[in-house]
Symmetry: C3
């Protein structure tokens, strides 16, 4: 779907906040209904998910300690009538080894976030039979 451009936000989430809920609160407060997100920083005790198709749910992977947030990439759209951020993250440990998946939660040590608002027709996540909430796929 095609969108026009809205506002651009570049900001730091305060230390101690939970990253994903802070992004969702930011979107709600500023009324960002559609958008893209990218971020870097450092997260503590992040939990990530791997979607198990056969079970129709995420397997939760709990990482202990402090990780470089090497990349957070995702988007904002509407789910259950509210702005909802879907974010995947890549996380680096002390040896530089990377772990990652679907972000479930993570405590912010540092988070530098870019949100780019998009404007247009509502982009809505709808529950699917496979357990995921997805936009309609782009028609051919």
């Amino acid at each position: 779907m095609k969108f026009s451009r809205g506002r651009n936000f570049l900001f730091r989430i305060p230390e101690g906040k939970e990253f994903l809920s802070a992004v969702n609160e930011f979107a709600k407060k500023h009324n960002v209904l559609i958008g893209t997100i990218s971020a870097i920083g450092t997260l503590k005790n992040p939990k990530i998910g791997y979607f198990e198709e056969e079970k129709g749910q995420y397997k939760v992977i709990e990482l202990e300690g402090t990780y470089e947030l090497v990349s957070a990439l995702g988007n904002i759209s509407i789910k259950d009538d509210e702005p909802f951020a879907h974010i995947h993250v890549s996380l680096g440990d002390k040896e530089g080894k990377l772990f990652g998946g679907h972000l479930i939660e993570g405590e912010v040590f540092v988070a530098e976030v870019y949100i780019q608002e998009l404007l247009g027709e509502p982009l809505i996540r709808k529950p699917r039979e496979n357990g995921l909430a997805l936009w309609d796929a782009e028609e051919e």
Copy 2:
């Protein structure tokens, strides 16, 4: 090179499609000649490449099974007179371990893609002696 901004597309590629060719078809259909791409989702049986300079070609790494598409990052420019997407990906397995490189192919389970069109002078990939097709480098 400096570009002005064109259209913004945020969309989901249908399940079952091959990711890279779907992006290339989208660019062709919508006449996106220059742009940037980012995406997250889930891919099946992705193939990634590692460029071996001494051989002047990519070593192909075939990953089996389903992987979280933790990041897809890249750009669109012209190669052989057509829009061409160059994309690198980071992929997470069931344990949260990450693999990645130059995307060769991957079957879409979920793919949420953002394409930002850029407008300006043609940006063209030209074959190089080292085996790669590259833009002219930015002058000092």
Copy 3:
């Protein structure tokens, strides 16, 4: 903080340059004071950092050889009165295994870089007690 959009640059850094200083020089030359960065390519002998909170400094991880630059993600703001790029990278080895963290340096084999300028009030990094130079956090 909210910003308006400035210029858009998509370009290739010449082979042999050091990636991070090339980005900083580009920002300085073109007077990009605020912005976002993303890039893909291939880097040689990259050095990455993992921030050790208890020591208030980065542990340096030196990677030898050639790595796919799977993702470079970051931003530009002002530090010590000059444009300063803060970039995190994900790097893939010959087997597709990923390493990453805070980019310290890396020699460019290929680097395709997108810089999006933002315009607005100065965004400034200030030294913190924890050893990092950070923007003021977004107010609630």
